[in-house]
Structure formats: C-alpha cells, structure tokens
Amino acid sequence: MNTILKLEHIQKYYGDGGNITKAIRDISFSVEAGEFLGIMGASGSGKTTLLNCISTIDTVSAGHIFLEGIDVTEIKPKSLARFRRGNLGFVFQDFNLLDTLTISENIALALTINHTPAGSVEPRVLEMAEKLNISDILNKYPYQVSGGQKQRCACARAIINNPKLLLADEPTGALDSHSSQMLLSTIQSINAQLRATILMVTHDAFTASYASRILFLKDGEIFMELRKGNDSRNAFFDKILNVLTIIGGGQSHVC
C-alpha cells in the first residue's frame, strides 16, 4: 500500500504575542491509498483546523503536509486553487450546493471548472448519478430535494474529478438518522468500489463507525488511534464509545 497523505509535526497557533491559542500542538500521521479515515474529537479539539490545513484553506504554523509527495505547505497562494480542484474533493455539513443550478448542473460545474471537454461532461454526470442513485432527481433544483439527496449530490460533485483525497466535514451533521445511514453507506461504497481515499471529520460515534480507522483528537494532539480490523461495525461502534468516555474525562474528573 502506498501513502497518499502524510502529515509531519503539524502545528497551528492563533493569536499573537503573549496570547497564543494552540489549536494543533503536534500532529503526525499518514493515510494509505483507499483508506477511509475518521477523525473524532470534542468541540475545540482541533479537528476542523486540521481539515482546513489539509485542504489548503488555512496555512500551518509549523510542519509539513505531503499529498502524493507534494508538500502542500510550500505551494504558492496563486496555484492553490488549481491544486485544490485537481487533487481534492470536498463534502460539507451544509451541502454547499448552488440553488441557482439543478442537481446535474451542480455536479457538472465541478467538471467544467476543471476544463473537462464539453462532450464528455454529460455522460460522466449521468454515470456518477447512476452510481450514487440520484439519476431521477438530476433535473431538480436543490430546494426541491431532501437533505440526504442533496448530500449525495455533493458527494457526486466531490468525487467526479477522481480526486486523490476526499475530505468530508461532518457530512451527516445536517441529516436525520435515516438519511445519515443512507449517506454513510454511499460513502462507504465510494470507498469500497471506487477505491477513493476518504478523510472524514465528525464528532458522532455512529458516523465514525463506518470508517476503517479513527484518530481521536484532544486539545490539539492525537489522543488515541482505533482500527476497525475485522470487527463488525457494532463492535467497532462500542469501542468508539469507550474511547469517547475516556476522552470525555474519566471518573477522576467527576467530583
């Protein structure tokens, strides 16, 4: 297995002078190709900051991030947009779909921005829609479909350019439990069938249980790592809950 993403001693500080907040203290890990990695942590643990740094939306204070050998912290600001659209796919909590475009146009936009020849846009959109089971809503507008469908459209948009890494930020945050379940199955199938590498940030144990490996963050550092291995999802879910209990503070913190 080859490494797609590698983080080396990432640090991120906010503020200046004597008033510094360390959002990320020192984090290092790597992600293999085709892996489905979950990042969990309580609010303020630094998970969103970490995702922003990987996605080049934010810069790191120290350390290096390599994506397929390229150091993204060294890319010039002007070239960042091109790098992002060529290598990364995003799924956000609030879908980030454009309400002026239909579902199919929303997916096609990701292709056209990447200068895909006009002739191959439609077939690729149809093919992807087929895979994610959204073919029958292609001509509807985002406000005409359910949250789950919107998020599947966002997934389609994120992976249609075959990104090296799919970044998902709380993808089930705005969905009900049924839609969440369906979406997670979709993401899992993207991972399994399309061999996409996925990095998902969440604070929800159920969502995280779909991943194959989970990193737990606490106060800007990796607190623990959990691998699913051959466990069933239920067993993995229990394990996650246990870790969360530990992170949430053991008995010693309850007075």
Binding site: I57, K78, A81, R82, F83, R84, R85, G86, L88, F90, F92, N96, L97, L98, D99, T100, L101, E105, A108, L109, A110, L111, T112, I113, N114, H115, T116, A118, G119, V121, E122, Y141, Y143, R157
Partner: protein, 737 residues
C-alpha cells in the same frame, strides 16, 4: 442610555450607511440646487426688460411634482438598510430589547444619517445651483457671475421636505420591525432565493396588449373602409394594410395558441406576441409619420390614438423582452453544450437566470423609467431650441400690431386704423422709434373675401413699398419688381417642396388689377415674422404699389422698432391700453393683436427655462432612481452571493476568475435594462425627431442637435460609469469579506 446607543451605533456604522448617505445626499443636492432659483432671495441680474417672478412659481410647482418620485427612492434605500441590519435587530431582540425600542433606535439612526445627508447635500447644492444660475443667465443672454449665497427659504423647504419624508418612511420602518418575527430576522442572510417560479404579471400585461390590439384592428378596418383610396402612394397603402394585417396576425397567433394550449407553453405565446409587438409598433407609428408627409385626412384624435397604440406596443415589448430574457438564455444554454460546459459558464448563467426570474417586474419598471429619462434628456434641448428659434421668428419687431378678418363678413367692417394710441403712448413716455411702418395686406381677388374654408384660405398680398420698408427694418436688401411682376415671401417653416410646387402652380396670378407674372427671382424666404401672412397660409404675394391700389385691403398691421428696448412695465401698460381699445375680438368681427418683443421674450424665456430645467431635473431624478435601484438590487443580495462565490472558491476557482465573473454579472445586470431602454428610446426619439424635423431644421439645425445629443449621451455615460464602478467595488468587497 438609548440615546447613547443611538449615537454610538451611528458613529460605528457610518460605513454600513454609506449607500444610504450617498443616495440621500444626491437627492438633497438635486432638490436644493433646482429649488434655489425659485427662492425669493434669489435675485440674479437679468435686466430691467425681464420679470423673474413669472418663473419662480412655475419652477416651484414643477420641482415639487418631480420630487415626489424621490420618496420612492428614499423608501427603497430604507428597505435596503433594513435588510442589512436585520441580523443585528434579531440579536438585540434575543437579548431582550423590545421590538418597539429597536424600531425607534433604527429610526433615530436613519434620522441622524438623514440629517448628515441634508447638511452635506445643501453644501453640494450650493455648488450645483451655480450651474443652474449659469444656465438661467445664458438663457437671458447675460454674462455669468458667481454668487455664493445660502437661501434661507430654500434651506427651510429642503429640510422640511426631507424631514417629513424621513418621518413617513421611518414610521413605516418601525412598523415593519415590530411586525417581523425574530426567527425571520435571524435567518435573513441565509435565506435562499424565494422560489424559482415566475410571477404572472406579464400575463396581465399581455391581456391589456391584446385588448389594445383588438381596438387597433377595429380602428384599422374602419379607417380603411372610410378613408382608403386606391390612388394613394404605395407607402400609404402599406400603412392601411399593415394596420389591419399586424393586429390581425397578433390576435390570430393568440387564438392558435389557445387551440394548441396543451402542446404549446406560455413562452411560445409570449415569443409570438413579442415579435408581433415590434411589427405593430412600426405599423402604428407609420400613421402619424405618413399623415404628415402625405397630408392624409386623418384627424388629430386619430393620430393620438395611434400614438397610444404604439406606446402600448412598446411597453409590452419591454416587458415581454425582459420576461423572456431568462428563457432565451435557458434555450441557448440547452442548445449549445459547448458554451454551457465551458469553465464557469454554468454558474454564471445560473446567476443571471435566477436573478432575472425573480426580478423581471422591477427590471421592466427600471427599463421603462430609463426610456422616459433618456427621452426627457434628449427632448429637453430640442424643445427649448425650438422655442427659442420660434421666439426669434415671432418677435422680430419691438412692437407688432396685427389684425385678422376671419370673422368679418362685411367689407365696411374691415380694419382701417393706424393705431395712433401707440404713437401717443410713445410720445408721453419719450420712447423714440427707429422704424415705424403701418401697412395693409390685400386680397388679390375681391371675390375671395368670403372664402373661409380652412384648407383653401386665400393668400394675401403686400405692396412693394411697404415690403421694402419692412425689409429695411430687418436689415435685408431691397428688392425691385418689373412691370406686372410679383414675387412670393415664405415663412421659415415652409419646406422647399411646398415652395417649389406652389411656385410651379402659380407662375401667374389673376388679380382685380390685372394679371401678374412671377418675377425671375421668384421667392424670398428670409424670416419676417408670423403676422405678415394670412391665416393658414405660409406664403405672401408682393405686388407693385399700383396694382395694390385697386385691391381690397383686408388686414391692417403696424410694425415698430424702437431705439431703446421698451421696459417690462411700459410694455405691460401699453398692452393693457391697446387691448382695451382694440380687443382680441372686436364687435365688427376684426381680431386685433399686439406683441411686444419684451413681453414675448420674457414669457418665452421663463416658460422655456421652466420646461428645460423641469425636464432635465426629472430626467436626472429618474436616472438616479433607476441606477440606484439597479445597484442596490445587486448589493441587497450580496449575502447570498457571498455564499455562492465561497462555494466556487471551495471548488477551486481562482480569485482572478471570480473577479471576472463578478464583473460579467454586473455588466449583464446593468447592461440588459440599459440596452433595452436605449433600443426603445432610439425608436421613440427617432420618431419624435422625424415628426418635428421641419421645425428642427428651421429653428435649431441638425448639427447643433447632434451636438446636444452627443453631450447628453456623454453625461449619461459618465453617470452610468460612476454607478457601475461604485457598485462593482462594494460588491467585490462584500463578496470577498
């Protein structure tokens, strides 16, 4: 405590209020500048022969009428501010502040900002009123002097007007804030486009258009039945048939659509009607144009009716074009995948169509208002040039006395007077005359005395000696005639074709004193005033004195040029004395009239000035309203756009491309209504110029006209550019923030 909050808020949020302050300042500046000349303290040096009071009341009325439009703008800008601040209001009410208090605080804030705008506006208004004074003094032919004065009554008027409008709008806002739910305020920024459905207003417009088309069709058929003649020239025949054919096609299309309703959508109907409205407009407009050219026997009422049809057609054209614009884009998008799937085009087209769908009504209103503004801008110099040119042609003499015999039915009642009352008045008031000529106008044939048919009124004659005295008065060369010869004298307004055809038909004239032949120099067309000719005629015969002695004198005129200009008071006094003795309609049936160049010039300049400034003020106000609304429409949605552009950014679109997209979007947003308005305005103005082309060439000249139009277009361009650039800068900032 609240007062503190108000002031602190106001100080902090000056930046938020920038749009508000700028718009209000423009309104106040315009209002003050134009109103200042009607101030009772305003006393420019325009000379003793002019009276200024005539101007101020008319001016005040004109400005106040137009200014009512500004209230609409104030209301719109307030709505914009309300939207901007909704989130802040929501937080304040969550914290426990009563909505009533929030409303009052907002009201106090806007009032403070309004007061600041009034102060700045009056300051700029003082500068701008200098331009108006310059315009005024040029109109009265005086050198321009700068006078920096603040007129207390104008300041009072301005403050009262704007404070009242602020209070009215403020009360309305307070009510709105009180009634809005907290949750609505809280989610105001996140709120998505209401719904991509289209409103149905266009169908109301279409029904009105259809009703007018039915009326036009009926009129067309009746007109053809009563007035059509197969000997008419081809353009006239086309006009008759066009006015039946095109309305019929329009209605036919609508019926066809009704039968095919299941298969055809409403857009197909509208597309057809759009095309029909263009043809209908041309057909309707051709009626007055051809009536002028070929002297068709259609009354003024009929011409106005056709202008009304043309107007309705044009309004529908604007509405339908804007309503369908987004559909056209969608069709084009569907048909050409290579354009649709080119880079960010999908996003761009989505932006445009969604905005067009939700605001087509506003866009149509903006477009119609723009047409009106452009028309006013261009028509103002034309009309005032016309009036001044006409003034020159009318008031060539300091005193003009004239008479008409239209209602005299017995020869003994014809005017014989020498109007000695004027001589006496001049003697008592020590007014010296440089030239004085009392003369008669004769009928070539006595038998024509009873001919009173309007279209066949007889041409009268003047004796050569009188004619030459008048020519001398005006500084023209003397002319001479051979034995039994005559020449013709023409009004400035007469066209060359009219003149040539008349001369060709009248190479000799049979008179009671014998037959005369036209001289080698057959005509003279120097301007000699309007009262030298008989009613309804544009031509005058000049006969040898000997012949005139044997003719029937029907009119008696007296023209005087004085050594010094008669003062305004003297002119009024003499006018009063004269009309007492020689009324406009004497018992004998003679109609007397007197004109003083002093009075004529004075009233003409005043009226003309009111007309011109009123039109320009109206045009500027309309233009400012349109451009402000256009720009605010975009800025209002900046929150929504910020989200959309942030999605693009996340998808990996470079900043450079985003800036380009913003520029393109604003260009379309400003460009579409402006181009549509220019197209329609070009038709309207072209038609307007064509109908009065005779007057334009006689009194203004086409080069001068083109120059004026050029200057106007330049000013409009600069105004547009200012608005465009400032909207662009603010838009970019709010999307990037």
């Amino acid at each position: 405590m609240y007062a503190k909050l108000v002031f602190r808020n106001a100080r902090r949020s000056v930046k938020d209020y920038l749009v508000y302050i700028v718009t209000m300042t423009i309104c106040v500046t315009l209002f003050y500048a134009f109103l200042s000349i009607s101030s009772s303290y305003y006393n420019p040096d325009i000379g003793s022969e002019y009276d200024f009071t005539l101007l101020s009341d008319g001016m005040k009325a004109a400005i106040c009428m137009i200014t009512l439009l500004l209230i609409f703008l104030i209301r719109f800008v307030n709505h914009y501010m309300l939207r901007q601040k909704q989130k802040e209001f929501a937080i304040q009410s969550i914290m426990g502040m009563e909505q009533k208090t929030i409303g009052r605080i907002f009201f106090a804030e806007t009032l403070i900002m309004g007061m600041i705008s009034i102060l700045i506006g009056i300051f700029f208004g003082v500068f701008c009123s200098q331009f108006i004074t310059a315009m005024l003094l040029t109109a009265y032919g005086r050198p321009y002097e700068i006078s920096w004065t603040l007129f207390p009554d104008t300041v009072l008027w301005t403050v009262v007007f704007f404070v009242i409008s602020f209070l009215m709008v403020g009360m309305f806002n307070t009510r709105t804030i009180q009634k809005t739910k907290i949750i609505t305020m809280l989610s105001a920024e996140k709120e998505n486009e209401p719904k991509l459905g289209k409103s149905r207003w266009i169908f109301v417009m279409a029904i009105i258009f259809e009703l007018f088309t039915v009326w036009a069709l009926i009129t067309g058929v009746i007109k053809a039945l009563f007035f059509y003649d197969s000997r008419f020239p081809i353009p006239v025949q086309l006009m008759y048939f066009g006015n039946i054919l095109f309305p019929a096609v329009t209605l036919g299309w609508s019926f066809l659509w009704l039968f095919q309703k299941k298969k055809w959508d409403a857009q197909k109907l509208l597309c057809g009607l759009l095309a029909c409205s263009v043809f209908n407009t041309f057909a309707a407009v051709s009626v007055p144009a051809l009536t002028n050219q070929y002297y068709l026997p259609l009354g003024n009422g009929m011409l106005r009716q056709y202008l009304l049809y043309a107007l309705v057609d044009l309004l529908f054209f604007i509405g339908a074009l804007i309503y369908l614009a987004s559909s056209f884009i969608v069709i084009w998008k569907e048909k050409s995948p290579e354009h649709r799937y080119k880079e960010e085009n999908l996003f761009f087209l989505g932006q445009i169509t969604s905005k067009l769908n939700t605001t087509s009504k506003t866009m149509t209103l903006i477009c119609i208002t723009l047409v009106l503004a452009i028309f006013l801008f261009i028509a103002a110099p034309i009309l005032s040039g016309w009036a001044f040119g006409y003034l020159g042609a009318r008031s060539m003499y300091d005193v003009q006395v004239f008479s008409r015999y239209n209602n005299v039915y017995e020869e003994k009642n014809l005017p014989q007077d020498n109007y000695e009352i004027i001589t006496d008045f001049f003697a008592t008031h020590e007014i010296d005359t440089a030239y004085d000529c009392t003369f008669s106008l004769y009928l070539p044939k006595k038998a024509d005395f009873h001919n009173r048919i309007k279209y066949d009124f007889p041409v009268v004659a003047i004796s050569l000696s009188d004619y030459n005295v008048i020519r001398k008065m005006l500084g023209y060369e003397q002319i001479s005639l051979g034995e039994n010869e005559f020449i013709t004298q023409w009004k400035t307004i007469a066209t060359e074709e009219e003149r040539n055809s008349f001369i060709a038909e009248h190479t000799s004239v049979v008179t009671d004193g014998g037959t005369l032949n036209i001289s080698e120099q057959s005509y003279s067309d120097e301007a000699m005033g309007e009262t030298l000719y008989n009613s309804y005629t544009d031509v005058l015969y000049v006969f040898p004195d000997k012949i005139c002695e044997e003719l029937l004198p029907v009119m008696r005129n007296r023209y005087i040029i004085t050594t010094k200009k008669i003062t305004y008071e003297n002119a009024r006094e003499l006018e009063r004395l004269f009309t007492a003795e020689y009324p406009e309609q004497a018992e004998s049936g003679v109609a007397y009239g007197v004109r003083f160049s002093t009075l004529q010039t004075n009233s003409a300049i005043a009226n003309n000035f009111i007309l011109q400034t009123g039109m320009i003020y109206g045009a500027v106000v309309l233009m400012v309203i349109c451009l402000t609304v256009l720009s605010l429409q975009q800025l209002l949605d900046a929150g929504r756009y910020k989200y959309r552009f942030s999605v693009l950014r996340k998808l990996g679109v470079e900043e450079q491309r985003i800036h380009k997209l913003i520029l393109e979007q604003l260009s379309v947003w400003f460009g579409l209504p402006i181009i549509a308005a220019i197209m329609v305005a070009a038709v309207v103005i072209g038609y307007f110029i064509q109908t009065i082309s005779a007057e334009i060439s006689a009194y203004i000249g086409f080069t001068a006209l083109m120059l004026q139009i050029g200057v106007t277009v330049g000013i409009l361009g600069i105004l547009l550019l200012c608005y465009f650039i400032s909207t662009w800068v603010i838009f970019r900032r709010s999307v990037n923030s």
